[in-house]
């Protein structure tokens, strides 16, 4: 090389750049992994909510023909409580 100083500077720049690249790459992997975990948990919870809502809707439809399930639905507020001793007992719970 005509100018060894420029080569040294370029080599130093290259090493620094490569080190930073590795550092950012590792950071990116960690951050995206955490984001993916959180997204997965949120998706799971939302899916669970949807499933539970569908189950509640089916229970409500079932309660039209079988009122015996009403106390269970009333206890979680899916159905308005009807008057009577049964509802009072449920309210006490």
């Amino acid at each position: 090389m005509k100018n060894p100083l420029s080569t040294t500077v370029l080599n130093v720049l290259l090493v620094v750049s490569l080190a930073l690249s590795v550092l950012f790459c590792l950071q990116y992997i960690m951050v995206t992994r955490e984001a993916r975990t959180l997204s997965g948990q949120m998706a799971h919870i939302n899916l669970f909510r949807t499933t539970l809502q569908a189950l509640a809707n089916d229970c409500l439809a079932y309660s039209q023909t079988n009122p015996a399930i009403n106390p269970i639905l009333e206890s979680v507020g899916l159905k308005p409580r009807s008057g009577g001793a049964g509802s009072k007992a449920a309210e006490n719970r």
């Binding site: 370029l10 990116y28 948990q41 949120m42 499933t51 269970i72 979680v76």
Partner: protein, 146 residues
Amino acid sequence: MNELAPKATPASEPAGWQEQQARLERQFSFLLVALVILSGTLTVFLWRQVRYAKHDLETLRPMAAQVIQEFNQKRPEVDAFIARLFEYSRAHPDFAPIIQKYKITPVTSAPPASATAPAAATPQPSAPANRPAATSSPPAKSPARR
């Protein structure tokens, strides 16, 4: 010994080597500069990606913490509701197909394996709706709180 002795070279050869060496040096310098530029570009790109990913994570984290906290708070109530539905389905077999449709398992007392394993306390994304109530997680073990 005479065979090993350097042969007489024409006068033009040293000049050719020097020219080749200079050409190689120029090429090496050019490639080194190109490599530095390429590496710098990659570094800047990764830096920006990390910034964007961190920003996204900071946006997602409070939302996820809130959702998971709400889920963990309501979980005992939901588990109790499902358990009561299962009790009801035992007494009323005509209700069994409805609850079987959702493949929900009733909540029993927490098994020792799930109590010790920290992963069991978090909802598993792999099998989301199949067994939502199978693992009972204490609300304090929210995975979003770090």
